[in-house]
Symmetry: C2
């Protein structure tokens, strides 16, 4: 019978993914070797292959989990209230969720080109689904100034995701101040 509790493999698997996440984000997928990941976990390189078929799958799984979590978490948060409240709620959610997962966000934007075509298509579909979420909210808000909805969606998402590139904990503005500023800016972009 297989070992079922306290086994090392139930710990090592997550450790491998955590190490890969951190190292990929810091140095880039191509610049990180399986031996580096193994060293971070405290294991030899060969042992990693009990937890992933290869390096590429390791990357894909990190992105996949990240995108799935993004979609399901929003689904839980979304109260489906009146359009304007939903918009504010989305802005807050996006910023805070992304700030809490800086490494995964970084990887998901920077390492798309290292995915196989099939894996890329899968990630891209989830990204499109997420964009659709915001687009639907914008359409429901329907500000009189709202121009092309798809273009506005992409503009707002770029603006929001951009926070990750400069926000630092303990900086001049805290999270709440940032959220409130962006809520106000997004409202103005949308024209409501």
């Amino acid at each position: 019978m297989a070992r079922t509790s306290g086994s090392s493999s139930q710990k090592t698997g997550p450790l491998v993914r955590a190490a890969a996440l951190r190292l990929f984000a810091q140095h880039g997928f191509a610049a990180v070797s399986m031996r580096q990941i193994a060293a971070e976990v405290g294991v030899q390189a060969g042992a990693l292959y009990r937890y992933t078929p290869d390096k590429q799958s390791l990357l894909f799984e990190l992105m996949q989990v990240h995108m799935e979590e993004l979609l399901t978490t929003w689904a839980e948060v979304d109260a489906g209230a009146e359009p304007l409240a939903r918009l504010d709620s989305f802005v807050r959610f996006h910023i805070l969720h992304h700030l809490d997962r800086a490494d995964a966000v970084f990887i998901s934007y920077m390492e798309l080109r290292n995915l196989t075509p099939e894996n890329f298509a899968q990630i891209e579909a989830m990204r499109a689904e997420y964009e659709r979420v915001l687009e639907d909210i914008l359409l429901a808000c329907g500000g009189e100034g709202l121009g092309d909805p798809k273009l506005t969606t992409l503009a707002v998402l770029a603006m929001l995701t951009g926070v990750n590139t400069w926000y630092r904990e303990g900086g001049r503005l805290d999270r709440e101040a940032v959220v409130q500023s962006y809520v106000a800016m997004v409202r103005r972009v949308v024209g409501v």
Copy 2:
């Protein structure tokens, strides 16, 4: 006397940089080998070292030229007219300039972590200078809704640079339509 005209080195240098630019953008700095760059130029790997001291300098030079060109080109374009016209002009300039240099833009955002600390600091200084350009314009516009100027600057730049991630020639919207939409959106963000 040295050969002064029609020499091969006056051609090979630019070819090396062009090949590196394209390959770095497509596959990432770490994933591209000196042998790949050499093959693209039609030369052996060793020959590259007449045109760059090492791979890292090749990357740095590409970014440096890109950032310098960004700053000097804006300086030429900037008419220094009334604030609102300058803002519109900046939006137009940023979008079109970046769309014309997709590879260099991509590299300059994605490969920052592959720079040595000294090289990084130099690129970062130029980026800060560029941000300052927009911040000054925003302050001059001084919309009543304008919140934190630095935060607004970063939000607008993220929004504008984001165009590069989705715009495709021959798509649903042409450049002029995109520019006009963004001019309108940026005006609203700034509150003027």
